[in-house]
């Protein structure tokens, strides 16, 4: 079928989150932006209560598991990815930074969910169903390796009953929250054999408070200031052998780990769409209050510049959302969506950057002022074209799929 109706369950959930976003999130949005690195306790505690109630928030992002050759697909298509896309859009409409600052398993938890042994899932994820608020993070980027994640040089050396980590990670979302402010953990990419390149890269789970690991810095950013972005240094940091993610007997390569991005990239796009939608709605509301007509159906050549800009903003947002939903639907349906996930992220990152900048432009001095949130939404939106694969990297992935080229054929 080709159809575009959210289920009643999805609509109800969307409505509920919208209420939360309009109330609690918008209440703290400006304060959180002005008070970078301070937590909004009311937000943290409320969401923690809600998440615990939902079983720790791991009902979400799942990597599509396509049926094996010839195997009949009996499984009914799920809707978890679609559900999450709707939720993430709504939360981000509330506030892009506070959404990321929620105490929840996040990318770190998703990695454990995707690749962890049953014992690891219990050990690391159970904490999200009980006790005080906790965070988890994912540590990949290093000062010398961002887009080229295969070039990381944090090392993991096996020593008796431990792995010993050495290196430095930067840009770890919720890194400080996970390691210093709560009983959380981070998932760290390290190499067990630099000469093996990609094949030597494994993921390791590092608990808060582990000796030899230190949060050295929290970044001052353009936007999403409510979310802490940390630098973490490892100096002979010892972790149990059982903290290597997944079963060491199972050959889980670099490519498999990268594949989890197929599930998470559409969610980044969904978040971007929420922020952009907030900006679009602000412009619509200001125009309406000023009596600016928006005449759908009038020939494009006869529309005012304002009308045309506003309509293109609307169209670009819809286009982005449709591409994002497509990628999410494919994940739910078990259809390989590597190209579509990158399309969603690349296109949305670009569209949302343009849209939020347009919103400030169209609102003139009013858009530039901190009296309203539009300027903040421009700053918040920009990150979506950068993290979890820059727009350029995602475009590269799309191009390789389109051309059926390898990494060496298209650099």
């Amino acid at each position: 079928m080709i159809e575009f109706e959210l289920s009643d369950g999805q609509k109800n959930m969307q409505k509920m989150i919208h209420g939360l976003a309009a109330g609690l999130m918008r209440k703290w949005a400006r304060w959180a932006d002005d008070n970078e690195h301070k937590k909004v306790d009311e937000w943290v505690n409320f969401m923690w209560g809600a998440l615990k109630g939902m079983g720790g928030g791991m009902g979400g992002m799942s990597k599509p598991k396509p049926a094996a050759e010839g195997e009949k697909k009996e499984k009914k298509p799920g809707s978890q990815n679609m559900q999450l896309a709707v939720m993430v859009e709504e939360l981000s409409w509330g506030d892009g930074g506070l959404y990321l600052a929620m105490p929840f398993p996040g990318l770190g938890g998703a990695a454990v969910m995707a690749a962890g042994t049953p014992e690891q899932k219990e050990r690391f994820l159970k904490r999200f169903t009980e006790g005080k608020p906790k965070w988890a993070g994912m540590a990949i980027t290093e000062p010398g390796a961002g887009s080229d994640s295969a070039a990381i040089s944090t090392t993991a050396v096996r020593d008796k009953d431990s792995w010993v980590l050495n290196g430095e990670k930067i840009f770890v979302t919720a890194g400080k929250s996970a390691l210093d402010d709560s009983e959380g953990f981070i998932v760290v990419w390290a190499t067990v054999d630099k000469s093996a390149g990609r094949a030597g890269i494994k993921s390791f789970i590092v608990e808060h408070g582990t000796p030899g690991m230190k949060v050295t810095k929290v970044e001052h950013k353009l936007g999403i200031r409510a979310s802490d972005t940390a630098a973490v240094v490892f100096e002979d940091c010892r972790i149990p052998l059982s903290n290597i993610l997944g079963d060491p007997e199972v050959k889980k390569g670099f490519r498999d780990v990268m594949a989890t991005f197929d599930a998470t990239r559409p969610m980044v796009a969904a978040s971007a769409i929420g922020v952009a939608r907030a900006a679009l709605e602000e412009v619509q509301s200001q125009f309406k209050a000023a009596g600016v007509p928006v005449r759908y159906g009038v020939a494009a050549n006869n529309l005012s510049a304002r009308e045309k800009d506003l309509m293109m903003m609307e169209a670009q947002l819809k286009a982005s959302r449709l591409l994002t939903w497509r990628a999410s639907w494919m994940a739910d349906a078990g259809i390989h969506n590597n190209m579509e996930a990158s399309i969603a992220k690349a296109k949305t990152g670009r569209a949302v950057t343009w849209l939020t900048q347009k919103a400030v432009e169209l609102l003139g001095p009013v858009g530039y002022s901190k009296k309203i949130l539009v300027e903040k939404w421009l700053r918040d939106a920009k990150i979506n074209d950068i993290f979890e694969g820059t727009g350029q990297i995602n475009t590269l992935i799309v191009a390789r799929r389109l051309l059926d080229y390898t990494r060496t054929e298209l650099k």
């Binding site: 575009f4 109706e5 809707s79 169209a315 819809k318 286009a319 590269l396 191009a399």
Partner: protein, 370 residues
Amino acid sequence: MVAFMPSDDQKMIQDMARDFAVNEIRPKAHDCDENDAIPESVLQAGWDLGMVNAVIPAPYGGSGMERSAVTGALMCEELAWGDLSIAKALLAPALFAYPVMEFGTEKQKQKYLPRFCEQKFLRATGAVVEPAFDFDLSALKTRAEKKGAGYVLNGHKCLVPLGLSSELYMVWAALDGKPGYENVAGFIVEKGAAGLKLLEREKNMGLKALETAELKLENLEVPAENRLGGDQGCDFGRIASFSRVALAAMAAGVGRASMEYARQYAKDRVAFGEPIAHRQAIAFMLAEMAWEIDASRLMAWEAAWELDVKKPEAFKEAFLAKLYADQAVVFVTDCGVQILGGHGYIREHPVELWLRNGRGFATFEGTVIV
């Protein structure tokens, strides 16, 4: 549910249209453009497949298939991928038949619909576009004034597909020249009507293979019974929306043709020791082309679905879908020429044709309908 998978029936129609485009349309496209003509056999072959009349209800002689804007969008993309002129020619009769089918009086349906279910391709069309730079569906300059029980039409139309050779015309005019979709009425005009002045065949930048005409309405008298829908009139906004989603889907088709051709060229063409597709500048253009086409398609699908389930926002969504697709196809077809470099400028390759056709979408209101 939110889903992006054509049903089995839709897939069948899509495959039929695709096969037709690959085998019957594309091989002829270049010559048709060069010679300003479409062989009758192509139009008849499409007619035989039921492209127009499959959805006409059985009581009037059609196959009674469910009319769906989504299905139409699937078909339109494939046909336009083949060639835009030929696609529009194949579907021109629907410009008359479908408004009658949805909004005609019973008498109008009985009089006209069976003619679309006969063996021979019936030349029929719709006249809506007007030759002014501020042409606007929401403010047509063609006027219809009441005269006695009937109407008299005055105005000037252009880009009328099969406009010189049609038997039947659905002419769109503003009642008393008033603006607004709610004031637009359709008038059934038969070939040879007094006051219907067919001017010469047009020469346009693109759509060269398609016979399009400019025509004048000079005190053209239309009896009341020939007003579409009688006194009830019709929902022109809805009709315009069906046209917009069809065109947005066609824009995706033309764009896709350009992207696929440029992609293959870029993989074959060697410069500086490697295929040019190895260079980011080229590869990134192709990636962007691909997602703009995907975006256009999905926008068309969503608006089409809203029309099918009669959502109140359908009018706005169809308008936005076309607004988006119009600019996307210009971008895509321009990239298509650019990737071929000098060769893209030469008519031996089809990319320049697709650029010429692509540029027209922003103007083509109401020239195709699903």
